[in-house]
Symmetry: C2
Subunit: 338 residues, 2 copies
């Protein structure tokens, strides 16, 4: 069996996450038991939710255990199989974690899913046609429930979730406005991702200022908002929400590092009769097939052309992840392992 | 025509509302035109929402215009009629405002509604079997959607809305816990209104302390919360909400007087996958008949015995209203005009 490089969570962040929270180790790969397969990972997915799980304390998921391999989505290839369900050479998506290889109980429902790379590159199954894409789909379709002609806004617009959200909302006849960090990302959102407009939040130092820019970009107000960041951006958007607007709460990355960020004026939920709803896409597995089908068609037809930022080699994962938390990535952040 | 005492909004509050914001005047009652009726008000309803409308600026309703009669719900008796739809002696509920008499266009849909006082005292049509009762009903039934055995919490528990909420939730097989100010109100909530428990928020100076008391009173966590106050109470309840909990936002009275009160940790909406939804009952007229029917049966059968605090005479309305904003009332706050 091959030697397996792994990255463990060595200690929890106090405040900002840092590289020394992680530890690179090497271990032997165990022999397969009956029903197991060995997957060689091609790509590892880095996602903002991982930061929340590095903290101890109440969160929607169990905290990432200390001293164990960082959990995370992976795509790869079956290189050994003792399961009738998978053959050597199958391309699969799973939750292999921050390591080169994983041993998977192939009989466990949902542990591993075969994917077809004829029209869709393998890496996209970690992004637009994977968990981030379904996340965008669920928030838009099941919580926001957009109507033709309404205005949708998404923060972290050029990320894996945001870019999928944009394409899904355009396909439903909406005006779509992004919020992103920096002129390059904003230009990309409009030129490549098809957003109607995109606001650079870095140009604004207060919610009031950002709200003014939103008023220009959303002359009819905002009917649906997909929240990835929280803090000042959320406060600004709330000032511009139309009556009966819907906010899908997917991430609050701005508050992961320290004290929780407050919401400045929750009375707007009442004043504007908003619905604000949090969700976790893994709790809604029933919608995945429908969502993945639409996302696959959008990617296959070129209506969604997801961009990727790819770090090379497992050892690069911690720095790439810390960069993601600071918005240094451009599109889906991956680590290429092979 | 009789002389008509009226209370106008003379100027807007800066910070806390004060008696000098109001002005008592006397005016002649105009002659009735065809289709109009003259109503003599027996009771005037005082409600927290009126404070929000005294401010200028964005709210869900138009601000109360300066120099005009304070708007508000009334019950009374038709004393003159030029409409075939109402006869002298009919008992009616309407939006007559802070005055002794009102002239009503009886043909206007919803302007005036005849009520039956055989089993239900006239004043209750301003409380449990009126707007406040329907407000509780809508938040519970349409937003919280309670299930048997779940735990429901309501702030301002002994008020007109809170007491109706308690009875409606008990009728659905829920554990119901109130939050109220002072030992008398808490004792009343449990002994008379049928709450399973009631917490005196005045014993707590922080959300953390109140959250501990909520943990004791709600050992299974909180599944539904009906929000009347905002601020520290909301922060405390959010710490104890179960996964997939629902919060109906009806009022944020704690923040009416000055700067908006923040929500300390909105990330809990995501962590606990909450739905937080604001509503205004007057936008959901379709549910009123169903709600009023249930509320009428609860009052008629003695399962809901609403308490009233009654101020005497129109001139007492401003002080009674300011007391309501401070929680000095006990149950529904009314002004008796006759």
């Amino acid at each position: 069996m091959p030697d397996n490089q792994q990255i463990l969570l060595d200690n929890r962040p106090s405040g900002e996450a840092v590289a020394s929270n992680f530890k690179l180790v090497s271990s032997a790969t165990p022999e397969l038991a009956e029903g197991q397969v060995l997957v060689r990972h091609h790509f590892l997915s880095l996602d903002p939710y991982m930061r929340g799980r590095m903290n101890d304390g109440k969160s929607y998921a169990q905290p990432q255990p200390l001293g164990q391999v960082m959990q995370g989505g992976t795509v790869g290839e079956v290189v050994q199989s003792r399961s009738p369900r998978f053959a050597v050479g199958d391309q699969v998506v799973g939750m292999g974690g921050w390591q080169q290889f994983s041993v998977v109980d192939a009989e466990q429902p949902g542990a591993l899913r075969k994917v077809d790379t004829t029209h869709i590159p393998l890496s996209h199954y970690l992004g637009a046609v994977g968990m981030p894409g379904v996340t965008a789909w669920y928030g838009l379709v099941k919580i926001i429930e957009p109507e033709v002609g309404q205005t949708m806004v998404v923060s972290a617009a050029t990320g894996a979730v945001g870019s999928a959200f944009g394409a899904l909302a355009k396909a439903r006849g909406c005006r779509v406005v992004g919020i992103a960090g920096g002129p390059d990302k904003c230009k990309y959102a409009v030129d490549e991702l098809g957003f109607d407009d995109c606001i650079d939040y870095k140009l604004h130092s207060s919610a009031g200022s950002l709200a003014k820019a939103l008023k220009q970009a959303c002359p009819q107000g905002i009917d649906g908002y997909f929240e990835n960041v929280g803090g000042m951006v959320l406060d600004a958007v709330m000032l511009r929400m139309n009556a009966f607007g819907r906010i899908a709460m997917c991430g609050m990355i701005a508050g992961y590092d320290g004290q929780p960020l407050s919401m400045a004026n929750p009375a707007l939920i009442l004043v504007s009769r908003l619905k604000v709803q949090g969700f976790i896409v893994s709790e809604h597995m029933a919608v995945w097939p429908e969502a993945l089908k639409e996302l696959g068609m959008l990617v296959g037809s070129g209506k969604l052309r997801p961009r990727e930022t790819v770090a090379e080699g497992l050892a690069a994962a911690p720095e790439a992840f810390l960069g993601l938390l600071k918005g240094k990535n451009f599109g889906k952040q991956l680590v290429k392992l092979i």
